[in-house]
Amino acid sequence: MKVLFIGHSHLKVLNDCYRDNIIMNYIPDFVQCGFEQYKPNVKKSLLSSKKILNKNLRKKITDQSFYSVVSCIYGNGHNILGFFKNDEPFDFVIPGREDLPIDEDCVQVLFEIIKKRIYETLENFELLIRLINDSTSFKVYHLEPPPVIPSNEFIIKHSAERFKTYNNPIINSYICRQKIWILYSELMKKICDSNNVYYIKNPASVFDEDKKLLEEYWCETCTHGNSKYGLEVLKNVGEVLLSEKSI
């Protein structure tokens, strides 16, 4: 079966690891939403004021040769809020996650506010995933964003050059980055659930017992998974698709 993967920067990892490996029980095709022919991904209809999908993107996702569509769009949105330390470092409490530590040296921001800010970063995701799902007759899946890298030392080592033009680029604490990723992923799942999009969580194999991303999956870009991670994700997608097919 053919499966269409659509996404932004995370797609490259999946694309690269597919090229480097022989896969499995399906044939992926990749649509990079950032490519010119798919931009803008969403625009206003000339006939009405409604938002519609880019016609090339729409053509691709309605291609009947595919079995399903797997999205990994907006996988980096949590980094907008969380990657760099805010000028006023902050932390927050996630309800039901009292197991997560609190950094009391930071300004505590109310959960409702953090949730609002994250929802704002997910507005475009909500629009795009809804349009994708509405446009296609296939089952649409969405991949959980790659987990954050637990080591600030690793990030600093590999991103110093890339971020040197940024103003005061201090990497946020792992606690805060992790919490923002958790909340971002939860809200992303809620959006998927409300749009009948099946949310595929990261495979358990990429985590240690403390739910941290294992070092072998860390990517030097620091905001994506590496090729090995991509392979685990593709394998996991295959298993999900197979189990769905057999139902």
């Binding site: 996630i94 109310l110 959960f111």
Partner: protein, 356 residues
Amino acid sequence: MSGKYYLVKNPYKSLPSSSFWSKSVSLRDTALIDPIIETKFRFDKDMKIASAGSCFAQQLSSRLKEIGINYITKEPPHSLLNDSEAVLYNYNTYSARYGNIYTISQLKQLFQRAFNDSQYDSHILTSDNYFIDAYRPRIQPKGFSSREELELDRKIHYKAVRSVFEELDVFIFTLGLTEAWRSKLDNTTFPICPLVFSESLRQEDYFLHNFSMDEIERNLEEFIDLLSVVNKSAKIILTVSPVPLVATGFKNHVLVSNCNSKSLLRVTAGNISEKYSNVDYFPSFEIVNTIPGYFSNDLRTVTQKGIDHVMKVFMNHYLLIGSNDNTNGQPDENVKIDSYNNIFEEQCDELIYQNK
């Protein structure tokens, strides 16, 4: 003898105009009425001013900030909150995020909790999956998202409260009410009856109390003593809110209860200010209640004109000369417009009793 009396010496003859109602009130241009003879102290724009109190205190704190004095706020909003969220979540309404404080008992207990750094987990109400801080139940729109968040916020809040009282030079407190709901279990005084927020509470655990003059005075003196331990040079300005009660929980007509309440508060404030050299009384109650047109049609909301007059008198007497101008010497019209809006949006917790 004709029955007429002749005054050999008129004891009032040598008194100033301010001693005569006709000269200083009824025959005076109302905009010029100024009931203050002298204040015990003045402050400049560098001195740290903090405030707390009932809904009327929100007006005062808002104006104090506008006139450029050094109004301290120890619990500022994070930059992740936009301006309207900061207002909605009661940041910068007062010097810390304590919400309205209606009684001196409530103020004293806040002080004690903050300096004992305790009771993070007491009097937490639950409603619709949210957690409400009974000490400041309307501090945010629905409540806190988790018990842990509420307890952590209280810890941060108490730290801010400690900073406020330790650092202030002048504390302005607006006395609002004598009636308050209290806990039978530990005599905690609440700003709003907790039963309003949570159906799971037992009615028999709470009671409505009308503080007597003795109790008000005792609480006020205890608060002053407590403050003096952490801040030896603190000065206090007491004022009584002119805003009438929304409702009384007792059998009297609300007009009667209101007069009783305000009278007790006014007398107590006067007594205490006479007793303590660092405590002064500011007559906002007299200004608003005497001059026509300073209440709007509901006979409860203080008008813009009323607030203007109160602030003018306050600035004339408490601010040192030259310290009541903005840096460019001109009033900021934009800021003034915002303050007009604030008047109509001030949060008066008592109104919740009308709506329930």
